[in-house]
């Protein structure tokens, strides 16, 4: 499997006044296409920062970040926006839907910034995605009229609308109860089986157990990098 994401000597520092906070201290990681990775670690370990860097939302201080074959570490703000728009899908802990838009309009949102014409075809695609996540009967609802689980389904559908190479989840089940968490994770596993590469941050072991590979960070360094063999075996069997 070719590596879809690889980081070389990734360093990220934050500057607070005169103080320098070293968040990521030279990470070397490589994620394969079609993998399902959970990033774990205690708070302050740098897992969220890593996810932001991988999501092209944050810039690295030094090192290299290759997305596919492309070096994105030197890209301009506009180019990074384009990368997000074309190759990445995001699922956030707090859903981050726009309250003034309907379900379909929220799903449509990433397409708005791709410069493509929004017409019946794109709308049909959004409706199909809404049906895929089981919200075919809630198309014109606003986010506040939906439950947390339903909102996160909308977010999942939204992350798929641009057919991304990589889906990034920032504690996608953090605000959900265990039952809806399982539903969302099932959905993500389905997506992964269909070929999507997923990287998610979580601090819950039973959520991480859904992933195929678990990377633990501590103090800005990789503490452990484990393949979830039992699961892999199960799937093979």
């Amino acid at each position: 499997m070719p590596a879809i994401v690889s980081v070389v000597d990734l360093v990220k520092n934050y500057y607070m006044g005169t103080q320098t906070v070293h968040v990521l201290k030279g990470l070397n990681l490589s994620f394969d296409e079609g993998d399902f990775i959970a990033l774990m670690g205690p708070s302050g370990s740098g897992k969220s920062t890593l996810l932001n860097v991988l999501g092209c939302l944050d810039r690295l201080t030094s090192g290299k970040y290759y997305l596919g074959d492309v070096d994105v570490s030197e890209m301009s703000d506009d180019q990074l926006s384009e990368v997000r728009s074309t190759y990445l899908g995001f699922i956030f802990q707090s859903y981050n839907l726009l309250p003034q838009y309907t379900v379909v309009e929220n799903i449509e949102l990433p397409l708005l910034y791709q410069g493509i014409k929004l017409d019946e075809k794109t709308k049909a695609r959004c409706v199909a995605l809404a049906e895929l996540v089981g919200l075919g009967d809630r198309l014109d609802h606003r986010p506040l009229q939906l439950s947390g689980g339903q909102q996160q389904r909308v977010a999942v559908a939204r992350s798929l609308v641009n057919d991304p190479h990589l889906i990034l989840g920032d504690e996608p089940t953090g605000n959900l109860d265990s039952k809806t968490s399982v539903e969302i994770m099932q959905m993500l596993r389905e997506l992964n089986r269909a070929g999507k590469t997923i990287i998610m941050v979580t601090h819950e072991n039973d959520i991480a157990a859904w992933a195929r590979r678990v990377v633990r960070l501590r103090d800005g360094r990789v503490e452990s990098d484990v393949r979830n063999d039992s699961r892999t075996v199960l799937e093979v069997g």
Binding site: D78, T86, F90, L98, Y113
Partner: protein, 485 residues
């Protein structure tokens, strides 16, 4: 119409800005914006407009309040310009009614009158027959089409027991043409009345009303200073000239009684005695006033120059013969030009007020937009995470501001135009029905240019004042924006 004044320059500047705004609006509307660097395509722009409308609709009250400044600004620009134009037009019409091609020469008591008075009982001053003859040389080369002399003195006019304090005006038939008098009954004086020294008179509307409230005035006899005059005509009510500044005081013409000038001289003599409040005076004035009509068009610069030239010629003539300065030359055209200058100054002032009020409106917009940007920080973060570029965010907020000010400007224009038509009507109703017996009229003339300019300026204001908040929004760090609660 205008000289190159500050007003004109301002008008040009505003017009230029408005043109620019209109151009931008057209570019936006027609989708030419697709070729500009900051918009990827038309579909996106249409989309941003509809999104902007949606976001604004979410906070209806706030949106309305924030554009209130623009609405009021636009509305007041149009209303003020229209009312200003209306009243100025009124003033100009007033001057034109006096005859803008006329030159009025009056006899005036000389300032060093006390010295003259001590010489004798009779004060003698003013225009004399020689002056009139000299004036008549002007008619030979057709510069002056009419010369109307007047001799004015106050007198009581009686009919039976009824009495009115009138002004007796001895004049010639041309007076009617020069002063644009309209007859309600009978006829005005004719040449034969003058040459035959007839005791005929024409009454002003109020004089006729006071003397003959029940009877038909025509054919009746009116007594003045011991002489009796047969009424041959009655005038229509004549609007008093509003004292439009300068030497011309407000005059009420409705109590005037017109008689042939030669009859006046023959019956009443050259010296007029006047009694007032215990003191007596006698004045010898051959002509109280001479009105000359210059053969020129007021609306052309050449015509105006001609009126001025003739005016100067007359002043020069009189200066030589009247070292005592017992005359005054009034050129109503001067007042017309003064009024026009006042109008252009007024236009400039309005322009400044317009600018200030729209500027204030723009600050209101900016204030709300900044608050909105703070409030919607998270939304900005979400959009950025989903692939929005900085310019997309700039566009979003800029479009919101421009949509607001455009709609505000259009609303203001509608209200302004409506007020131009409604307020004067309402004013008339109030004036006619209530205890408020104000003579003040409220003339309004829709100033079409101000509608265009003010709407365009409000669009421009949206762009200018929306830019900074939009830039602030775009500058936000996506991660911090996403974390914002």
């Amino acid at each position: 119409m205008f000289g190159v004044s500050g007003g004109t320059l301002l008008l040009i500047a505003t017009g230029g800005a408005a043109l620019f705004a209109a151009l931008v609006a057209i570019v936006f509307a027609t989708g030419l914006a697709a070729h500009l660097p900051f918009a990827a395509n038309t579909a996106k722009l249409q989309r941003s407009v509809s999104l902007a409308v949606k976001s604004l609709w979410l906070h209806k009250l706030r949106s309305v309040l924030s554009v209130l400044g623009i609405i009021i600004g636009t509305c007041s620009v149009i209303a003020l310009m229209s009312f200003g134009e209306g009243s100025m037009q009124d003033a100009l019409d007033d001057i034109k009614r006096q005859g803008a091609t006329n030159i009025i020469v009056r006899s005036a008591k000389p300032p060093d009158d006390s010295a003259t008075a001590s010489k004798g009982f009779v004060t003698s001053y003013g225009l004399v027959r020689d002056d009139l003859e000299r004036f008549s040389t002007l008619t030979t080369n057709a510069d002056v089409s009419r010369i109307v002399p007047m001799r004015v003195f106050p007198s009581e006019a009686r009919y039976l027991e009824r009495l009115v304090n009138a002004r007796v005006i001895g004049t010639v038939p041309d007076y009617q043409v020069v002063n644009k008098l309209e007859l309600s009954r009978g006829r005005f004086l004719i040449d034969n009345d003058d040459s035959d020294l007839e005791n005929y008179c024409v009454l002003g509307a109020e004089a006729a009303d006071k003397l003959f409230p029940y009877e038909d005035a025509l054919g009746r006899t009116v007594g003045m200073r011991g002489h009796f005059f047969v009424v041959v005509g009655v005038l229509k009510d004549r609007m008093p000239t509003g004292g439009t500044g300068g030497s011309q005081a407000a005059e009420d013409y409705n109590r005037d009684i017109y008689i042939p000038i030669r009859t006046s001289r023959r019956r009443f003599g050259e010296v007029i005695f006047a009694r007032s409040a215990g003191s007596r005076s006698a004045e010898k004035v051959e002509y109280s006033q001479v009105t000359l009509t210059v053969n020129a068009e007021v609306d052309t610069p050449a015509g105006r120059a001609k009126v001025q030239a003739v005016g100067n010629e007359i002043k020069a003539m009189l200066e030589k013969k009247h070292p005592r300065k017992d005359y005054a030359v009034t050129v109503p055209l001067d007042k017309l030009e003064e009024a026009e200058r006042a109008q252009s100054r007024f236009t400039m002032l309005m322009g400044v007020i317009a600018f200030i009020s729209l500027f204030v409106g723009g600050i209101g917009i900016m204030n709300i937009m900044l608050a909105t940007v703070t409030e919607r920080t998270r939304e900005i973060g979400i959009r950025r995470a989903l692939g929005a570029k900085r310019k997309d965010i700039v566009m979003q907020f800029l479009v919101e501001a421009v949509v607001q000010t455009t709609v505000g400007g259009l609303c203001g224009a509608v209200i302004g135009v409506a007020s131009v038509y409604c307020v004067p009507a309402l004013w008339d109703v109030i004036r006619s029905t209530s205890w408020l017996t104000s003579e003040m009229r409220l003339p309004a003339k829709l100033h079409v240019g101000s509608i265009f300019v003010s709407v365009c300026v409000s669009v421009l204001v949206g762009m200018v004042f929306g830019l900074y908040p939009a830039w602030r929004a775009a500058k936000l760090d996506p991660i911090e924006a996403l974390r914002h609660e």
